[in-house]
């Protein structure tokens, strides 16, 4: 009962959130400086041609109607044409989405694969060399801006040693440096959280009981302690989605990867606001739904959340 109630409340809260954000993103194009039409029509053709174009794009209708039309088009998947590229936006997105998904997926996987063992090792060796070493690396990872880490990796592995491609997409090799770059910040953060969460769990009574029972240290650590220590790490997954999305934008620009984030940045520079709008909304919705999913998962593992 409590769980269903929580899920229902959480979903109900998401709906107004989505509406507020969609209205905000929709107003972007109207608040942005400059008439979008004037960029599309040859300036020598005069006001009449601009009026024609405005009608064609539906920009002459009242704002609420335009908003509803915008949302209807979004939901039915008819995203229209890019003002700049004269291409269907849905086709532009479809061509780039796999690149972005591969990057974020591998980046997320990398951050966990590095962070959890590092955090566990640090906790088990508290105050010793391995603890200081891994936590110092984590501190540095938190201080380095992602885009600069990417540039340095590129300088060392692509330019200097010529081991990996500098930029672009096409093979698995193209994904290695971008995924490391994207995952590094999350890895640093997760390693720190894993360590403190492990330390906390290791002092709990049930760990002492397990040891007193004469269980081997390895079983105590990995079966009893780590499993419980992972709960706060999983619960931060929701927050991680926001960082991944923002990070993907930067990494795609650094490594000139044709993905959604780079398309957004390029569209800003071209004043192709319709594309900007759709991408921002898409990314925001995926973050919100990701958060929703993570919260529901958390409430499954930790019943306390439901009652707060």
């Amino acid at each position: 009962m409590g769980l269903l109630n929580y899920v229902a409340r959480r979903v109900l809260f998401t709906i107004p959130l989505l509406i507020v954000i969609s209205i905000f993103v929709f107003s972007l194009i109207h608040l942005a400086p400059g008439d979008p039409v004037s960029l599309l029509v040859n300036p020598r053709l005069g006001e009449e041609a601009r009026e024609q174009k405005r009608k064609e794009l539906g920009l002459d209708k009242p704002l609420p109607i335009q908003y509803l039309q915008f949302m209807k088009d979004l939901i039915t998947g008819r995203l229209g044409k890019s003002y700049y590229a004269e291409k269907k936006i849905s086709a532009m997105l479809a061509a780039r989405l796999p690149n972005t998904l591969a990057l974020t997926g591998l980046g997320l996987a990398f951050s966990y694969v590095i962070a959890i063992p590092a955090g566990v090792v640090a906790a088990l060796n508290r105050g010793k060399f391995l603890d200081y070493a891994s936590m110092s690396v984590a501190l540095i990872g938190l201080a380095m801006p992602q885009f600069w880490l990417g540039l340095i990796l590129m300088l060392v592995f692509s330019v200097h040693f010529d081991l990996l491609p500098v930029a672009g997409v096409g093979s698995f090799q193209h994904l290695i440096l971008p995924s490391i770059t994207l995952g590094a910040y999350g890895a640093a953060l997760t390693a720190r959280i894993t360590r403190s969460s492990m330390l906390e769990v290791l002092h709990k009574d049930y760990i002492r009981t397990a040891r007193a029972k004469g269980l081997r240290e390895r079983i105590v650590c990995y079966k009893h302690a780590l499993r419980n220590a992972l709960i706060p790490i999983i619960s931060l997954l929701g927050m991680r989605i926001g960082w991944l999305v923002g990070g993907a934008v930067m990494v795609e620009v650094v490594f000139t990867r044709p993905g959604i984030g780079r398309l957004m940045v390029n569209s800003i520079h071209r004043r192709d606001y319709l594309v900007v709008q759709i991408i921002i909304l898409m990314l925001a919705i995926s973050v919100i739904l990701g958060n929703l999913l993570a919260d529901i998962l958390n409430s499954l593992t930790d019943p306390q959340i439901r009652y707060n």
């Binding site: 972007l28 999305v245 934008v249 650094v254």
Partner: protein
Amino acid sequence: MSFYRSLLKNRQIMIGGGIVAVLTAAAIFAPYIATHSYWQQNYMDALQPPSTAHFLGTDNYGRDIFSRVVYGARTSLLTAAGIAAVAGFVGVFLGTLGGYFGGWTDRFIQGLIDIAWTFPTLLLAIALVVILQPGQMSIIIAISAGWWAQYARVMRGEVYKTREEDYVEAAKAAGAGNVHILRKVILPNAVPSVIVLITTTMGRAIILEAMLSFLGIGVQPPTPSWGAILSNARDFISTAYWYITYPGIVLSVTVLGFNLLGDGLRDVLDPYLKNQ
């Protein structure tokens, strides 16, 4: 006394504080520290490696990178301080309001916090910069638009905690007004938490400014900024390693300094937060 001693004994605070102090001094005294003008171009000297004449080498316009980095510190620290001021003011104000008055005011503010909290900072900032046009002021507003929520959340919690204390009840019973209680009793109690939050978020603020400037939608030339320097340096990555390396090291060390200082202050000011 013991408070100051624990500050001095904390290694993180000493190292982080040292870095921050050096950077702040560089930002304030930039004209005296810079060895060259940050904008004067000299094509004869383009892309020179580090030397005694140019400590960190020169860029593709022959400008002295060291001098540009020193002036860039000004841009970075000013922007980050601006974000802390705007986000801090709005967040503390709304958080206090919600926490103290409760009821519908609190529910409304909590809704605003939730909205700001869910929207990824970088996306919101990009969207707002598109509307406001790139520039230092726009960045401050655009990042604060999402960040006030952190302050509001902390503040709301602090006010909740102290609202029920006996001395607040006593002040009320003695006839003190709401404004008086807030200003003299509740706000001073929350100062340590707000200071910790400012220092721990300073590093992220500097990174966000650098990110936006790197994307070309942040601080605009001719104002030197670390993000814009690195964005330009990217084009010369295979010919001028120093151009991409040294400004990035300065940027990372600055962020490291603020992070260390923030971690240290949190340990000293609030031992209970240590493991969070």
